[in-house]
């Protein structure tokens, strides 16, 4: 990220979020590092291996997207990295610290918005603040700015059921960002949205990532979405999930929907698709 880029970003509505990475130099001490991480559910005869031993590294400020067939352990991977599950073998390090429990400096977005139905939108966005027992007043401004950024200004006092699915999901993204975490993890965040809203959200998310430089780990089963958003795409194999390939996406950081007609884009989508077509298990 250049200096020009940063000064420009001050005018953006997301300028209140800290810029995490200045450059992305791969280093073991920063970013997310997985070494030999595997996960097996159950014990005894009922054992199901969900993930084969995985080794990969996510740099600070990288937009890292995981694609794979359904049931390949994508969501398990996300829970392992966020510390909600303990790996059966191997170690996960975030910024050089071993992950043994939820570490807090992470925002999570699931496929369902999972807003608390008894809290209005602003209180839902402030939920991480309540959970961490931080002073609400300090974060109120940011919560409002985030809602403005995703176009939910004026909906602060509404209850979740009064909003459409897409609006709820946008509120849940605000919730994941309100405590300004370094890492954002998204598990098929736009899976439940219609195609048009989904494209708009993709552009929006791409812009948020560009202006804040957050590390984003996103899980999807849409190959075009993966290529459009990612700096790197990890392709997973069928269960037990392993790494089929990791692709760099040389499309630059500034992306509009025009990028989808770029030959690099179409070529990469076709190449990734081939991984699944050979097994004919594309979902």
């Amino acid at each position: 990220m250049t200096a020009a880029m940063r000064t420009m970003s001050v005018d953006q509505p997301s300028a209140h979020l800290r810029v995490v990475s200045e450059q992305s130099t791969p280093s073991k001490a920063s970013g997310i590092n997985l070494s030999g991480v595997s996960k097996t559910y159950g014990t005894g005869d009922g054992q199901v291996q969900s993930l084969r031993p995985l080794d990969f590294h996510i740099n600070d400020g990288e937009f890292f997207v995981v694609v794979g067939p359904s049931g390949c352990g994508k969501s398990t991977l996300l829970k392992l990295i966020s510390g909600l599950l303990a790996p059966t073998s191997g170690e996960i390090h975030v910024d050089g610290n071993k992950v043994t429990e939820p570490h807090g400096d992470v925002g999570i977005v699931f496929q369902n918005a999972l807003l608390l139905p008894w809290r209005n939108i602003i209180n839902n966005v402030l939920m991480p603040i309540d959970m961490k027992n931080l002073p609400r007043a300090q974060y109120m401004d940011r919560a409002k700015q985030l809602l403005k950024m995703v176009g939910l200004e004026g909906f602060e006092k509404k209850l979740p059921w009064q909003l459409s699915g897409g609006m709820q999901q946008r509120a849940s993204i605000c919730r994941a960002l309100v405590h300004d975490p370094k890492i954002m993890m998204m598990d098929e965040p736009f899976g439940a949205l219609d195609a048009m809203t989904r494209e708009k959200m993709n552009v929006e998310l791409s812009r948020i990532q560009r202006t804040t430089g957050k590390t984003i780990l996103l899980i999807t089963h849409s190959i075009p979405e993966a290529v459009f958003l990612a700096d790197k795409v990890l392709v997973m194999t069928e269960r037990p999930g392993g790494i089929a390939a990791i692709y760099d996406v040389p499309l630059g950081r500034e992306r509009t929907l025009d990028a989808m007609s770029n030959p690099i884009f179409t070529d990469l989508v076709a190449r990734i698709r081939k991984h699944f077509m050979t097994n004919s298990t594309l979902d």
Partner: protein, 269 residues
């Protein structure tokens, strides 16, 4: 319908949802009275509604004073079933070990007829209010536990994960996510429980008491005073309705966000 010019206030009144149960009640009473006249049912088998109303009117002070002990016993038994039932449901839903030990036993204990063991409480605690409270508690306890367990268990695990990933302590996650989520189920259990607690209190009064509506019931059966007995039943039904309505009001106040509370429908009785 071409009743555009119909007097608005009367038709509105007839359509008011709170009036509907009363209209049905009036129809039932009329049917009751007609049945007695048509089939010539003697008064020692079923009293006429008019006689019951007469007793309700003349004996009102006596009936009212007798309904207080029943109300106290019901309320205390109901509160006890909430105070013990909800935490036990929390434990059962929270730990498989507790569930495997406690839940089957709890179901087992429900198959014991309370009426059969109620005299035991009289032996243990005498003729005071305590046996009645225990009987009310025993009947009201089970629905609270079953509903609350279901409520606590139906929390979306992703929602709990999300709160845990925010580094919330167990207690904080519980108070912010699990408990509010379980409230609608808990309230439906409480509503069943409060009506059963009335039954429990009456059972307690049946087996050994010298006060309360249950006592009035038993005494009037003994003397074949059927109008008084039916009047006592009316009072019990009223007590049940009022207590149910109170819990319903509290529910609306506690969970205004819930689906069941969104439309302004009358659930009161």
């Amino acid at each position: 319908m071409s009743e555009k010019k119909a007097p608005g206030s009367v038709s509105k009144l007839l359509n008011a949802s709170w009036l509907r149960p009363f209209l049905l009640l009036v129809m039932i009473v009329v049917g009751w009275d007609l049945a007695i006249r048509i089939f010539n049912i003697p008064a020692y088998q079923i009293p006429a509604p008019g006689d019951v109303v007469k007793v309700l009117y003349t004996d009102w002070p006596e009936l009212l004073s007798q309904s207080w002990p029943t109300t106290y016993a019901t309320l205390l038994g109901f509160l006890a079933s909430a105070v013990f039932g909800i935490p036990i449901a929390m434990l059962i839903a929270g730990s498989r070990t507790v569930e495997s030990y406690v839940y089957p036993l709890l179901v087992f204990s429900q198959s014991i007829p309370k009426v059969a063991i109620a005299p035991l409480f009289v032996v243990w605690f005498g003729f005071g209010i305590v046996p009645k409270i225990i009987a009310a508690f025993l009947l009201g306890f089970f629905p609270v536990v079953v509903s609350a367990v279901q409520g606590f268990k139906s929390v979306d695990p992703d929602m709990v994960d999300l709160a845990r990933a925010m580094k919330g302590s167990r207690l904080r996650v519980f108070c912010a996510v699990n408990l509010p989520h379980a409230l609608p189920a808990i309230f439906s259990g409480l509503k069943v429980s409060v009506t059963l607690a009335v039954v429990g209190a009456v059972v307690g009064e049946f087996v050994g008491s010298n006060s309360g509506i249950g006592y009035v019931l038993q005494r009037s059966i003994g003397t074949f005073d059927l109008p008084t007995m039916f009047a006592a039943l009316v009072i019990l039904a009223l007590l049940g309705v009022i207590l149910f309505w109170l819990v319903d009001r509290i529910e609306r106040f506690a969970i205004p966000w819930h689906v069941s509370q969104r439309a302004d429908v009358f659930i009161g009785s």
